[in-house]
């Protein structure tokens, strides 16, 4: 093996790192580390300039290893690996050191210690890089089909998109009908149309599509495998169905909170906005003289600090509608802040005001109070703008409550290894850069199951998720990251420990065919099944099986570097 010539690139990341860590000092330090042939600082290593700098340095200094010290590898490792590949260096001769999320961002008040820590981390990264070896990726076929879980507007959009592109789609819906919550709504804001007009066409398109198979009512029972090769088992109305897919899109939606506030559940004249929609749609709502609506009911409070995005517009829509139904009646909308962004929404709000809806602002520390004997009869609210408490007579109280995660999110999350985040909604791979995919390869997300969204956003996300999901489907093969396990048959004693610990049955004992070792029973790893966890490597008594990129030598070198040993 040629002598390692490591290039160390320390990133300022603007002031994100450079403002706390003394980057020039780290560069100087790196220059003195074993096998470092070149070290430099970059303002933004991931920028065009930074990337060119790396390529230039590889050539100029004849580098055969690259270490970048910047942000988390979970974001840019693929980028820098391909930069190396472009420059003619095997992409696995690259090591990432995290001195931002794990250093500068968490030690803002301790610049010197952060700098020392950055040096340590770079030392460890360089120590590991010295041992990295060029690797070849294994390629695996992709099953040309997708599963969409959830037949609401987001799910149907995703399914149609995938199917129109030529792929088979299994759409799994747990209710007996497609369309989701949209079908329970009375009107869609701002176009003030019946949702059935929108939804029925899409439902028909889905039902008639030759490549979409709808499983309904059905729920996913088990998922195993990996991107390109998922084995799914579905409980379809008591019967078990199994099928194979290459990608999975989660579009399971959310539910509306039924709060224990303001007499909901006790008084008959207290409804959520969704209850109101359903009553309006079914023509069951009577005439009311004094409608009071309370927004942010159970939202934007300590237990649930988020804004549910769609309730303001829903409330304004229904408030204007109540005025339309009974022009002489009074409609009050009690709000904390109004989410009516953009041109259309702002106009919608103005129109509602002009139609006679009275908007009253209240604050979190002075919540409205309801009173009444068997039903709600009045609402007291401290009007912030008028600086006085007023009492509003009320014969119908409508609460705008937030969307909350479905009860089966946790179970689905476990089955798919798809993370959930704050409050139980699904968590995407990266809040800014990867909005419709999970960290788990081959699994994507769309719609309100990820975060409250309106129809437009749900449809867009459905398309986006399908679009992302199609990348591996179109490529037809998935490249398995070259961090799988490999056995050295000379050392292996065939004890079978690795075969017992592997969760994927990727390691198996067989007779060796290598010259000189014929007939020796040793372990062998099936690279298609190996997921690169490394359990085998930790269990092997003599280091015969190693995980590429995380070998004993590599990990030990980092430990030794940290402890100041050679």
């Amino acid at each position: 093996m040629a002598t390692p010539r490591i290039g160390a690139f320390i990133c300022h990341c603007g002031t994100n790192i450079g403002g706390i860590v003394n980057v020039p000092e780290v560069v100087e330090y790196a220059k003195g580390l074993p096998y470092v042939a070149h070290a430099e600082a970059n303002l933004y290593t991931c920028s065009e300039e930074g990337i060119s700098s790396i390529k230039r340095a590889i050539e100029q200094y004849d580098l055969n290893r690259v270490v970048v010290a910047s942000c988390t590898p979970r974001t840019h490792q693929p980028l820098f690996r391909s930069v190396c590949a472009d420059a003619g260096l095997n992409p696995y001769l690259f090591e990432f050191v995290n001195i931002r999320e794990h250093c500068s961002w968490i030690h803002r008040e301790h610049h010197q210690e952060a700098t020392e820590k950055a040096k340590d981390l770079v030392k460890m990264g360089v120590a590991k890089a010295r041992w990295l070896e060029a690797q070849q990726e294994f390629e695996s076929d992709i099953y040309p089909a997708g599963m969409v879980i959830g037949g609401g507007i987001a799910g149907m959009s995703a399914a149609l998109n995938l199917a129109n592109q030529g792929f088979e789609v299994h759409l799994v819906e747990k209710e007996p009908g497609l369309g989701g919550r949209l079908l329970r709504l009375n009107r869609i804001f701002t176009i003030d149309k019946d949702p059935r007009e929108l939804v029925e066409n899409i439902v028909k398109a889905v039902g008639n599509h030759p490549r979409i198979r709808v499983h309904m009512p059905a729920s996913v029972k088990a998922v195993s495998g990996y991107i390109g090769n998922f084995d799914v088992s579905v409980d379809e109305d008591g019967q078990e169905t199994s099928f194979k897919v290459g990608v999975i899109i989660v579009a399971t939606g959310a539910q509306v909170l039924k709060p224990e506030l303001y007499g909901y559940g006790e008084s008959a004249n207290v409804l959520t906005q969704l209850d109101l929609e359903e009553k309006l749609k079914d023509g069951e709502l009577g005439k009311f003289q004094n409608v009071v609506m309370i927004n942010c009911a159970g939202a934007r409070i300590p237990e649930r600090p988020y804004c549910s995005r769609v309730c303001c517009m829903t409330a304004i829509k229904n408030a204007a509608l109540m005025k339309e139904i009974n022009p002489e009646g009074k409609v009050y909308l009690l709000y904390r802040d109004l989410m009516t962004y953009g041109v259309e929404f702002e106009q919608y709000y103005r129109d509602a005001k002009e139609a006679g809806v009275r908007f009253i602002r209240y604050t979190l520390d002075a919540l409205p109070r309801v009173s009444g004997t068997e039903s709600v009869e009045a609402v007291k609210v401290y009007d912030e703008l008028m600086d006085m408490e007023i009492e509003l007579p009320c014969d119908l109280l409508v609460l705008a409550t937030p969307l909350i995660p479905n009860d089966d999110n946790e179970e689905l999350s476990r089955m798919l290894k798809a993370s959930t985040g704050d409050g139980g909604f699904f968590l995407e791979a990266h809040v800014k850069l990867r909005p419709v995919e999970f960290a788990m390869d081959g699994v994507y997300v769309a719609g309100t199951c990820r975060w409250p969204a309106d129809i437009r956003e749900s449809i867009a996300q459905g398309y986006a998720a399908a679009s992302e999901a199609m990348i591996p489907l179109r490529q037809g093969l998935v490249k398995v990251e070259a961090i799988t396990a490999v056995v050295d048959p000379r050392i292996c004693k065939g004890c079978g420990t690795c075969t017992l610990v592997c969760p994927f049955e990727a390691a198996g004992l067989k007779e060796c065919e290598i010259r000189g070792l014929e007939g020796k029973i040793v372990s062998e790893v099936n690279a298609a099944l190996c997921k690169g966890c490394g359990l085998c490597a930790a269990a092997c008594p003599n280091g015969a099986i190693q995980q590429r990129g995380f070998t004993d030598v590599e990990l030990m070198s980092m430990v030794n570097a940290m402890s100041g040993k050679r």
Binding site: E101, I106, A114, M124, L535, F550, K565
Partner: protein
């Protein structure tokens, strides 16, 4: 535990934290993104699964003089590789008991579960473990007794 020398300067421990890529490392990233401030004594080594960490390496790290070693992985049941952390858990039991048996303070080796969404927990664990190990003082592996 009696210290034979007066520690003149404030003791800053050296603590190693193996973090699994899918949960703990992501949780640590989230802690960073959320700007949770933490003591500066921990150095993270990324592994794909907590099950990659061989007990031998923990022993080696302590013998090298590191004051503490943490292994952080997904909550049992949530392992990205479905079972890895269950094995980590079993190994950790044996290792912790063995270390205690030969007179190493059990707090010097800790296994904790931190998920990708638990940035706050990661931060809290780092603080807690740093405090614990600081209180223990420097690693006395093979020290003359």
């Amino acid at each position: 535990m009696q210290k034979t020398k007066e520690i003149q300067t404030e003791f800053k421990p050296k603590i190693l934290a193996f973090c699994c890529n899918w949960c703990a490392y992501a949780g640590a990233d989230l802690a960073g993104v959320s700007r949770f401030q933490m003591p500066t004594d921990v150095r993270v080594i990324r592994v794909m699964c907590s099950g990659r960490v061989p007990p031998e390496l923990v022993i080696r790290a302590l013998a090298n003089g590191l004051d503490g070693v943490m292994v952080l992985g997904c909550h049992p049941g949530d392992c990205h590789y479905s079972e890895g952390n269950y094995l980590t858990r079993r190994r950790a039991h044996i290792l912790k008991r063995l270390l205690t048996y030969i007179g190493i303070e059990p707090e010097r080796f800790q296994l904790r579960w931190v998920s990708a969404s638990e940035g706050a927990k990661f931060s809290a664990v780092v603080k807690e473990v740093t405090d614990q190990i600081t209180a223990l003082g420097p690693n006395r592996w093979a020290e003359k007794r």
